[in-house]
């Protein structure tokens, strides 16, 4: 059964190849080919998961080597796959969510653009599955860069609009900054440990390096750099809001459910290194906490529905980083899973709204849509409830509450981290229900042009169900998921706290969520004038503009990196080093002209010259 592991990434790659190389006739069935290949991959991973659970391989690990990629001396990364509890969970979530989004895209994208779209999407899924299944860091890096490429291609999918191209380029370059840091981490790990196979490498690191040693810190810092870029965390978060230029299913798949969580996976995968560097782990937690707050504030002020969701994604990944930082490895993966469900759902439902209103993104021009788009409303509501961690009935509640409790009770946790997370939860429910109220309640401002067909509705319903009940896989008292993940990830180190305290904390986070929803109701539905007045006051305007622009990071980076680089390029366009040679040639030409002057044709001058020369030579000869 497990022998067929390679088929999981193979199907999407095959779909890509078929769509690129197959002629026009195939192009007409692009959606079927695209969704079909990912469907096969999802089926394969479900079957594989069943096999894995029924008869686990020895040590809960299965590896498969396909071929040697490059072999130079001791450096021989292979195209080899590694399946354990962690990668199995990732593969399941990625392939199933991808399949649902592909099906939805079949209805969302118009016919003419289907072939290119599904080719890129399939390529993405192939790379993403390669990333999570990679047995060594070089192959992981291949998947890592591959998903970055597909992200670029799909953000700029509607390439005729120059703004999309800019957004795509920005996303690629910013993430590449992180990727470069990750590449250097690979060089370091190979130089010091002599291998890039993940499991042997982690074992060697654990036995050779002491906790807090410089090498462990350097390696995990550099890896963290890669994770920050891909997962859009501080300070490399600026590309994600702009990435919303891509088609909505792309935002759902790449910029919410899968690719942006690759950083979380990377850190979880190399958790041994991070455990060896407690300082870096603390940094991870702090970055997570800071990001979740900053992005939460920015989400509060956006008008574009997709940008709210983008900031929300940044913020929710901040929770995952917070969890990783306090050593709550499986809580991070749990939140990754529930987030993949509800955030994909929110994007897809938003896509229905946007398409229904003929590409309208501004929430202030929506309103009252709950009657016209009932399915979108109910499913969006399910996703929003899950995102705001509505107590008991949503998956998001269980995963977020777990992170908050772990941040408090972890041996490496702190009250501050918990407080930041709690404040973030409060913010989350405000901005989430701000969306719900602005879009679906209030006065109707526009007519819906098109309604989704069955193939767009079905994925919404499935994802809504998963967003609500998906949390029970890790219900308090029956932690199935973390029990399973502990075959691959270290057990969470709890410092203290009894069940009663944990229950009290659950009550607090439930209260934060409900309070946020009430506040959103109060500000955006009952008394919208009050929210407007708040934003219009002088300090309100300032804050609003600051948050709206994502805390001015773009402004800052433009001045510190982009403009100087462009300026440097402009002034050196004609190659300053060429001036050396241009100068030399001018010197030669000038000297030639100078000596040319002496050729006057007057015998008297020539005779004088000869005489002077003779005197000099004689003088030299005598004095020597």
């Amino acid at each position: 059964m497990l022998r067929f592991l390679f088929l999981i990434p193979f199907f999407p790659f095959a779909g890509f190849a078929a769509l690129t190389l197959g002629g026009r006739r195939l192009g007409r069935h692009a959606a079927a080919v695209g969704a079909g290949s990912v469907g096969l991959s999802a089926l394969a991973s479900l079957a594989l998961a069943a096999g894995f659970l029924i008869s686990p391989p020895p040590g809960y690990v299965y590896t498969q080597s396909l071929w040697t990629w490059m072999k130079v001396g001791g450096f021989s990364p292979g195209i080899s796959l590694y399946l354990d509890a962690l990668s199995l969970v990732m593969v399941l979530v990625v392939s199933v969510v991808s399949f649902l989004i592909h099906v939805y895209s079949g209805g969302f994208m118009s016919r003419g653009e289907g072939r290119r779209f599904f080719a890129y999407m399939n390529l993405f899924v192939g790379f993403m599955l390669t990333l999570v299944l990679a047995g060594n860091l070089v192959l992981l890096y291949l998947g890592w860069e591959g998903v970055g490429l597909c992200s670029y291609l799909l953000i700029g999918f509607w390439y005729r609009d120059a703004a999309n191209g800019r957004a795509a380029r920005k996303a690629f370059i910013v993430t590449r900054v992180g990727d470069t840091s990750m590449a250097i981490a690979l060089f370091l790990l190979f130089a010091k440990l002599g291998t890039l196979e993940i499991q042997p490498l982690l074992k060697l690191a654990a036995s050779h390096w002491q906790a807090g040693s410089g090498l462990a810190v350097a390696a995990s810092l550099l890896l963290l750099g890669g994770a920050l870029g891909k997962s859009a965390q501080l300070p490399l978060q600026t590309w994600l809001p702009d990435a919303m230029a891509g088609p909505t299913p792309v935002s759902a798949l790449i910029h919410a459910a899968t690719m942006v969580t690759a950083g979380v996976y990377l850190i979880a995968r190399t958790n041994v290194l991070f455990s060896l560097a407690p300082q870096v782990r603390l940094l991870v937690a702090i970055i997570g906490a800071a990001t979740l707050l900053l992005a939460g504030f920015s989400a509060l002020t956006q008008r574009d529905i997709k940008r709210v969701l983008a900031y929300s994604t940044i913020s929710q990944i901040g929770y995952m980083f917070l969890a990783l930082g306090v050593g709550a490895w499986s809580a991070a993966i749990f939140h990754f899973m529930t987030h993949a469900f509800f955030k994909a759902l929110l994007f897809l439902a938003a896509g229905v709204v946007i398409k229904g209103l003929a590409e309208e993104h501004d929430m202030f021009r929506m309103g009252g849509l709950r009657r016209q788009l009932p399915l979108a409303f109910w499913t969006f509501l399910a996703g929003a409830a899950s995102l705001s961690a509505l107590p008991l009935v949503t998956a998001g509640f269980y995963s977020k509450d777990l992170i908050l409790w772990d941040a408090w009770s972890s041996a490496s946790g702190s009250h501050w981290l918990w407080a930041a997370g709690l404040a973030g939860a409060f913010l989350t429910s405000i901005y989430t229900f701000r969306m719900v109220f602005l879009i679906f309640f209030g006065a109707s401002r526009s007519r819906v042009g098109s309604r989704p067909g069955f193939i767009m509705q079905a994925p919404l319903v499935v994802l809504a169900a998963l967003s609500l009940v998906g949390g029970f896989i890790e219900a308090p008292g029956a932690p199935f998921l973390s029990g399973f993940l502990h075959h691959a990830l270290p057990v969470f180190q709890q410092a203290g706290g009894s069940a009663a305290v944990e229950f009290a904390f659950a009550l607090i986070s439930a209260a934060a969520s409900l309070a946020g929803i009430y506040l959103a109701y109060h500000l955006f539905l009952r008394r919208p004038a009050r929210a407007a007045a708040l934003a219009a006051s002088s300090s309100g305007r300032l804050l609003h503009r600051w948050w709206y622009s994502g805390w001015g990071f773009d402004w800052f980076y433009d001045r510190v990196f982009v403009m100087p680089y462009a300026w440097l390029a402009r002034v050196s366009k004609s190659d300053p080093l060429d001036l050396i040679f241009a100068g030399a040639s001018r010197l030669a030409a000038g000297a030639g002209r100078l000596f040319g002057r002496t050729q006057t044709g007057r015998t008297r001058w020539y005779a004088a010259g000869i005489a002077a020369g003779a005197i000099v030579v004689l003088a030299l000869a005598v004095n020597w």
């Binding site: 005729r160 120059a162 590449a183 060089f187 130089a191």
Partner: protein, 520 residues
């Protein structure tokens, strides 16, 4: 004897192509194409043969050798020899030769016969450079390469070709003279020390000389190779030559002439002068890193598409120089892969630029925009090779650059980290190229034919090579391995600079070389 035939076949093909031109323009094209295809088939057969017999794994012998007396009075011999690296370079030479012929199928409209004569003679001379193991002969081929290339750029080039050819000729000629002096210097130093006056590579290895002499001679070679490579600051002939050359000339320049410089460093410079090279490693590597960044920055600055691609070459060849002076097996294998991958990817970009210029009669990026919507196939190809340029894993350039960097890291961490910035700056120019030319709206209302069968075939072949190199480079690595290990042994002193030399002059810098862990 097969080695001589490899060269003579091309020379003869060139002559026949020239003579056949009186029968019509199609003749020289077909004759060159067939000549090159036959040669490629022979090389491929040789390659598979060596593979099957395991000759590639046999450490001490050349794969094939030809040694005939030439000028006994001077000690110069006709000595050709083939090793794994040379074989790969020959394969690349012929492959790109075919690409160049196919790419100029329509573009060259006058003096077709002479054009193809020049093309084949360039290839023959380059093959000679890759095969010669007698320095006199090496220099002969080295110079022979220039003349036809001079004609190709000077006759079939673009507007500003006279300036470009002059510059190209002066740069290469002046630097070659330095190498000639260095060759003669080595000849006499060796003769005086041992009584044997010879130009033979094997004989000259390990010539005893003072460190000052070694450094001077090494620098003579270095300048010649650095100009060809090109390394900063003697790169400035390249953008001009590339921009003005016809497509085929650019393909030859980027794909092959640049490789000759790298090959010379690999085979001659470091093995002949290991101590001096070792002492010179830090400056050379600094030049390399500077070249990586500088080339990428200037590529981004250009508005002439061809000039832009030319500057990307400088950036890529920085990795080659860096890897050579790191001189461990990881980096050297990386160098070989970068040489091939750069030849193919940059060659392809030049072909694309040429095809574009044939269609819209400009290379100005400002006049292009939205070409994807009219020519999706060309756009896709350009995108793919731009991605290869920025080092996307799965394509050939990544394998090479990654191996180089992982090798350099063993030698110098700061240099590896600085060179890694190349990943970022190359992303900037590569995406900029695609975006400016192909994305956006079709502002100029271009209505152009997309790639036809001939052009698509050329691109498909190059895409196949660059992809194969990216996901399964093992055949290339396996072919180069023994040859590189042999070079590593020749230059074993490279990593113990002080030990073998009795009295290195005081203050000779060994900085940056500590921790150079031998060939791994």
């Amino acid at each position: 004897m097969i080695l001589a035939w490899l060269i003579l076949w091309l020379l003869a093909g060139g002559l026949v192509a020239w003579l056949s031109a009186c029968r019509g323009d199609a003749w020289p094209r077909w004759i060159s194409l067939i000549t090159l295809l036959v040669e490629l088939a022979v090389l491929a057969a040789l390659w598979t043969g060596y593979y099957a017999h395991g000759s590639l794994a046999a450490p001490e012998r050349w794969l094939a050798e030809l040694d005939l007396p030439w000028i006994p009075a001077l000690g110069a011999r006709i000595h050709l020899a083939l090793d794994g690296v040379g074989l790969l370079m020959l394969l690349l030479t012929n492959f790109l030769g075919i690409v160049a012929v196919a790419a100029s199928w329509r573009g060259i409209r006058y003096r077709t016969g002479f054009f193809h004569f020049n093309m084949l003679w360039i290839l023959a001379a380059i093959a000679g450079v890759f095969l010669a193991v007698d320095l006199f002969m090496f220099y002969f081929f080295w110079e022979l390469m220039l003349v036809p290339l001079y004609f190709v750029i000077g006759i079939w080039g673009h507007e500003n070709r006279v300036y470009a050819t002059l510059k190209f000729f002066i740069f290469t000629q002046a630097s070659s003279l330095l190498m000639l002096v260095a060759i003669l210097g080595l000849y006499f130093v060796h003769g005086r020390a041992t009584g044997v006056y010879t130009f033979d590579y094997g004989g000259l290895l390990g010539t005893p000389m003072s460190s000052f002499t070694e450094m001077v001679l090494m620098l003579g070679f270095f300048v010649a190779f650095a100009v060809k490579l090109p390394a900063l600051p003697v790169h400035t002939w390249l953008p001009d030559a590339h921009t003005e050359a016809p497509t085929a000339g650019s393909v030859h320049l980027a794909g092959l002439v640049l490789k000759v410089g790298a090959f010379g460093m690999l085979r001659f410079l470091v093995p002949l002068f290991p101590h001096a090279a070792s002492r010179f490693a830090l400056p050379a590597m600094l030049l390399a890193v500077a070249g990586i960044i500088y080339g990428a920055l200037l590529a981004f600055a250009q508005t002439d598409l061809k000039r832009m691609v030319a500057y990307t070459s400088i950036s890529h060849m920085g990795f080659v120089l860096l890897g050579i002076f790191a001189w461990n097996q990881l980096a050297l294998q990386g160098v070989v892969v970068v040489m091939i991958a750069h030849g193919v990817s940059t060659g392809a970009l030049f072909v694309i630029v040429g095809d574009l210029q044939d269609r819209i009669h400009t290379r100005d990026l400002d006049r292009m925009s939205g070409l994807w919507s009219v020519m999706p196939r060309m756009g896709g190809a350009a995108m793919l090779f731009a991605l290869a340029s920025l080092g996307l894993p799965g394509l050939g350039n990544f394998v090479g650059e990654f191996l180089v960097l992982i090798g350099v890291y063993q030698v110098s961490i700061p240099l590896a980290a600085l060179a890694s910035l190349g990943f970022i700056v190359s992303t900037v120019y590569a995406l900029w190229l695609v975006e400016r030319a192909f994305l956006g709206r079709n502002l100029n209302k271009w209505r152009l034919p997309d790639y036809n069968l001939r052009e698509s075939t050329v691109m498909a072949a190059m895409i196949a090579v660059i992809t194969a190199l990216g996901i399964y480079p093992q055949p290339v690595l396996g072919t180069a391995r023994v040859a590189l290990e042999k070079l590593g042994r020749y230059a074993a002193a490279y990593h113990q600079p002080a030990a073998a030399r009795p009295a290195p002059p005081a203050g000779s810098a060994h900085a940056g070389r500590d921790g150079a862990g031998g060939s791994s």
